[in-house]
Amino acid sequence: MAIRARRYADAKAQASSNTELLWWVFMRVSGLVMVFLVLGHIYMNFVLIDVSTINYTYVAERLSNTTWKIYDWLILVLAMLHGMNGLRYVMDDWIRNPARRFATKAVVYSLAVLVVIVGSFSLFNHDFSKDLKQAAQTQGSVKP
């Protein structure tokens, strides 16, 4: 076949946006912030206490505290955005069939939105202090 060396005439529509650049920067910024959040999270829940002792009470208590609410929500959102964009890279790379890629992305992104919603609800729309009281009444004390 003859090759026509043309001016990059069909510069695709996508080309003129900075989306990719911004995501790239976001990956660094969010990563930087998360280093502290995630390592802190690990430290608190893995080193300070024995993970296998974590149970409802521990969680509920933690989730009643506004500071932790914000801390955890930040991790959730940043990690979700960061991880999902990372996964988008991976899916672009690994799933070469456009139809299949589209379908996978649709499922994955829906799942991600769902998880963020559930997570956010549990953090902000649920009054754990009430639960805790209830639990204390019905079960007596909640063993650590």
Binding site: R28, M34, L39, S52, N55, T57, L63, V90, S122, A135
Partner: protein
Amino acid sequence: MYRGREGQWAFFLHRISGIALLLWLLLHTLNISSAMWGPAVSNRLMLFFHVPIFQVGLLLVTAAALYHSFNGLRIIIMDFTGWGIKYQRQLWYGVIALCVLVAVPGLILTVPRIIHAATHGGAQ
């Protein structure tokens, strides 16, 4: 198989650890959020996740988190400094060393706990 060097393996590990973290993040969020449905549901789920195999998995995910964070920092350094690129190999070995450095005390701390939990049928 292509005989890539440090950079290639750094990338493969970064990607795999990233995916692992994401997977764990999904499970973890759902797990923790289950508290919304009260202690019964929540504790059952958490107990389920406390079986030893998940505990070992959790160790791996933690290792992944360590590697991904440290290597993430390496990537950021390379992206914004000239020396980061020049010493990328050394930096990677630094990342591995840091991971080991943090992981060893971590393991010393957590492995006995896991064994204890496994042999005593859970923490409760």
